[in-house]
């Protein structure tokens, strides 16, 4: 296949608010929000990223857009550093307000990217704005509204329209449909799918909604505390979840399954040893090697890998 985006051993490090005293006392002053993640995305693919809240999903997308710097590793687009200024890369942010200027009307905030990336005349731009609004289930009546005059889902849709305006090649969609009613959500999901089919658009789709991921995504990546724990074709991962965390997470889809995440001792990146498996404290299958080193990815099925020693069959 045709790789468009490559994450090669990417690390994003955040400094906690440390002071001199804590540094001198040997306390760690930072942690890896994205911790040695490798992953490729094909042209025209929709890759889902799901996983624990705070696991680094947003951070890895922002790193690709250059909004966070990488501590090590590389992110490349077709072998070259990512070009973020020509509109071929867009992000729909988890917080739609953060991408919209509070003092700009809807039409204005769509016009800006359109003007930057098109040499069309005013009339065409107006038409395109209306078309974009229609695509996301709004209409020309919303042109002159300001962000604070919109509902949560209307805002989210303006943010989507804005990201689509430059006809990007790659879209990072961070919880992009989470605030929409199911019917509008259906419209947006159908739209994204058809854009992919028509224009070979590549989408990195971050979501907590496992049904949405199942509907939309070709492959799915499962993250936990900065680590990529499992990666594979969505249907295959849902049918055959391997990593204990993935099993726990996907287990919630079974309505009769009432195993509740126990009040658990979760990994603390600032005080815990970062060498062992991240999932150690919660895992029911802990073995000796799990305590030593976080595992590599092992193949568990067609194009399907999991970072867990349960699947290390090398010495069998």
């Amino acid at each position: 296949m045709n790789t468009i985006l490559e994450f090669d051993d990417v690390v994003v490090h955040f400094q906690a608010r440390g002071n001199l005293l804590s540094t001198l006392s040997g306390r760690k002053s930072g942690f890896n929000a994205v911790d040695h993640v490798s992953l490729t995305v094909d042209k025209g693919e929709i890759l889902g990223i799901a996983g624990e809240s705070g696991s680094g999903k947003t951070t890895i997308c922002k790193a690709a857009l250059g909004l966070h710097s990488t501590a090590s590793g590389a992110i490349t687009q077709e072998g070259k550093p990512l070009s973020i200024n020509n509109g071929s890369l867009q992000m729909i942010f988890q917080d739609p307000l953060s991408s919209l200027n509070p003092r700009q009307t809807v039409a204005k905030s769509l016009e800006t990217p359109l003007k930057l990336h098109k040499d069309d005349n005013k009339e065409n731009i107006d038409e395109t704005i209306d078309k974009l609004l229609n695509d996301v289930g709004l209409n020309e009546k919303f042109r002159n509204r300001f962000p604070h005059e919109l509902s949560g889902g209307q805002l989210q849709r303006v943010a989507i329209a804005r990201a689509l305006a430059t006809k990007p090649k790659i879209i990072f969609a961070d919880e992009a449909v989470s605030k929409l009613d199911v019917s509008v959500r259906a419209q947006i999901l159908n739209l994204l799918k058809s854009l992919r089919d028509k224009y070979n658009l590549t989408i990195i789709f971050v979501t907590h909604d496992l049904h949405v991921a199942h509907f939309l995504c070709d492959r799915i990546a499962i993250m936990y505390f900065g680590k990529l724990l499992e990666l594979g074709p969505t249907k295959e991962v849902y049918a055959n979840p391997c990593h204990p965390y993935t099993r726990e997470l996907l287990g919630t889809l079974d309505r009769d399954n009432h195993v509740i995440a126990s009040t658990r001792d979760i990994f603390n990146p600032l005080s815990d040893d970062v060498r062992p498996c991240r999932y150690l404290n919660r895992c029911p299958h802990v073995m000796d090697e799990c305590r030593k080193l976080h595992p590599d990815h092992y193949p568990v099925g067609p194009e399907h890998t999991a970072a867990c020693y349960l699947f290390d069959n090398e010495d069998d």
Binding site: E175, L180, D181, V182, S183, L210, T252
Partner: protein, 326 residues
């Protein structure tokens, strides 16, 4: 006991020269310890309705109502000061936008201290307030509450911030809690945890909830009753099982069908076709008419919310045609 009673609520916004009517004739009541799930169309007025109850709407909003009472007390007669004293302590809202709910230049800990003042906990001192805060953060599964208290909002992930917001409201212990899509940024495991916490809480402190959500599974799990909004009106309201298993309004039916589709294996999802503009502010005909598969000439008149047998209330003249359907 009745916690909340809303009758004939109308809300309009002044825009430029005109004024647009958003909510019209919204009425419902909520008993102590009960959870009302509020679902429906994006932009239909769910947030606005709740903000009106808590007197949180901007200046350009015109609110009219026959009655809004809280524990028997008429809220419409309160002045600004009396309302301020009640908000946060007697009733509180978890906003849809967690980022905007925090002061970006203050730490999470500061927000708890600030909230502590509202609860008149000053005599407790910092230590005790932080202990309480840590306990509240633990309840919402924040792994390291002590560190979270030292963080600034932008240093937390979307889901962590949302949980901090929930913890803040739990810390205030109000008796009416409006939660506006409080689980959208959470993974399923934490989401379950939060739903459990809300469940525990309403038993423990007998709090009532209005729970706004787009997630049918959550709505079904958490609510005693469900109200469905479309274009500024409640179009269906009844017991949770009745609404989810046997919806009587064509809009509710479409919504629930699409939710089911999303859980199954389809390539294209069913959208509701038709003109979305025509709903808001329309008074002389059914607001769902232009998109309704059952629409006929009789629907072009004002449609009342009416009782349908033992199903609850539906705003559709053809509601009976769904009687017995599943």
């Amino acid at each position: 006991m009745k916690m909340l009673d809303v009758k004939g609520l109308n809300i309009s916004f002044a825009l430029d020269s005109s004024s647009i009517n958003i909510c019209s004739d919204v009425s419902f009541s909520l008993a102590q310890g009960k959870v009302l799930g509020l679902i429906g169309e994006s932009g239909s007025g769910k947030t606005i309705t709740c903000k009106a109850i808590l007197d949180l709407l901007p200046e350009n909003a015109e609110v009219e109502a026959k009655e809004i009472s809280f524990k028997g007390q008429n809220l419409l007669g309160l002045n600004q000061k009396e309302f301020d004293a009640m908000r946060g302590t007697a009733m509180a809202m978890i906003f849809q936008d967690p980022v905007g709910s925090f002061n970006p230049v203050k730490t999470i800990g500061w927000h708890f201290l600030h909230a502590g003042k509202r609860r008149n906990l000053k005599q407790y001192g910092r230590g005790r307030i932080f202990d309480d805060a840590e306990a509240a953060l633990k309840e919402v599964e924040i792994a390291n509450p002590r560190e979270a208290l030292k963080k600034y909002p932008h240093q937390l992930s979307g889901g962590m911030l949302q949980r901090c917001l929930i913890a803040l409201v739990l810390f205030l212990k109000p008796s009416l809690i409006v939660a506006d899509e409080p689980t959208t940024n959470l993974d399923n495991l934490v989401e379950r945890q939060i739903v459990d916490i809300f469940d525990k809480l309403r038993n423990k402190i007998d709090a009532s909830f209005i729970f706004i959500t787009h997630d049918m599974t959550i709505a079904e799990q958490i609510s005693d009753e469900i109200a469905v909004m479309y274009a500024g009106q409640i179009v269906e309201h009844g017991n949770t099982a009745d609404i989810i298993d046997n919806p009587h309004h064509p809009y509710t039916r479409a919504l629930i069908n699409t939710a089911r589709e999303l859980e199954s294996d389809v390539d294209v999802l069913t959208e509701i076709s038709g003109d979305i503009t025509s709903g808001l502010g329309v008074h002389d005909k059914c607001r769902f008419g232009p998109r309704c598969p059952l629409h006929s000439a009789e629907c072009d008149k004002p449609i009342e919310l009416r009782n349908i047998g033992n199903h609850g209330q539906v705003r559709c003249i053809k509601a009976e045609s769904f009687e017995g359907h599943v």
